[in-house]
Symmetry: C2
């Protein structure tokens, strides 16, 4: 019987390489050298598996959103959201690109309304810095850009803290937050 | 017999909704109400179809890269690349999110070496503004972020020029280009 952890790791790897819709439970069991029934012991559908992959990530982002919303000014709220999100992105860097680009994940976020709600609150924290379309475009650019940039292979080993700091610096510039002028 | 244009439009729509790997020629022919042989008249594989979808886009980006590389300073080169890319992103906004997030497109770009080369030259034009990892992270964030932000539904109709201008404004901030300080 495969451990649940190992199953999730293999799923993330295949989701990233083939997209969620391009990955079947059959492919996952083949990769693990197992029968499909060994997988069914843990997950009955690909969507159940995808939910299990995303759950800890969304839980982290939810906690950051709730904490960031308590700050007094739009700038402080956006900066707290950005720092937390960049840290999540750096630590889960293999998983994050899925979150920004994969239609299967997009669909999951829409279908689980409490998850879609968290994403909307995060976007609002970013876009409230600048009223109007400009703020919304910058928020969208920062959200997806950070998720994608975290997963890029820069040709050297980069530890999580270094990557987080670079993502924060870039995100502050995009959103027009304090710190952007001093760099 | 379907027109080639209509076939490409349906393919883009399905690629966007289900990812490239999650879209079969069968799904495309079903959507068009046609047999698979009617599709085969135009394209024999999904990869051929994907190439045909991407070809005009890559041709436009190639022309922008070549023109941008002629400028004298890194800032002028990056700004020219950014303005051109934002314009492409706004005009092809349904297609662009695929370019940043879909593993099938990523694979295609790697397999067609002249296309991967264009992407690398674009990244270099963006990252040369700031030496080191900081510039590389900001370039990756701008590249993917602009592609994703172009495809977002902001709840209102936005014409191509307005969207392009907002993407340029956000991208200049991210990359630290002239204009970012005046906003």
């Amino acid at each position: 019987m495969p451990t649940r952890r190992r199953l999730l790791d293999v799923a993330v790897d295949l989701f990233t390489r083939h997209s969620v819709a391009g990955t079947s439970l059959q492919m996952i069991s083949d990769e693990l050298g197992l029968t499909k029934s060994a997988i069914y012991h843990h997950f009955r559908t690909r969507d159940e598996l995808l939910s299990a992959v995303m759950e800890p990530l969304i839980a982290e982002v939810t906690a950051i959103v709730e904490s960031a919303e308590k700050h007094r000014t739009p700038h402080a709220r956006a900066d707290q959201m950005l720092t937390g999100y960049a840290s999540v992105a750096a630590r889960h860097r293999t998983l994050l690109p899925l979150l920004s680009g994969d239609p299967g994940v997009h669909e999951l976020l829409q279908n689980r309304s409490e998850w879609g709600d968290v994403v909307r609150r995060q976007v609002a924290l970013f876009s409230d810095v600048e009223p109007g379309l400009g703020g919304q475009v910058k928020a969208a650019l920062a959200m997806s850009g950070i998720a994608s940039a975290a997963g890029v292979d820069y040709g050297v080993d980069i530890d999580d803290d270094t990557l987080r700091d670079e993502l924060v610096a870039a995100g502050r510039r995009t959103l027009g937050l304090r710190g952007s002028r001093t760099r």
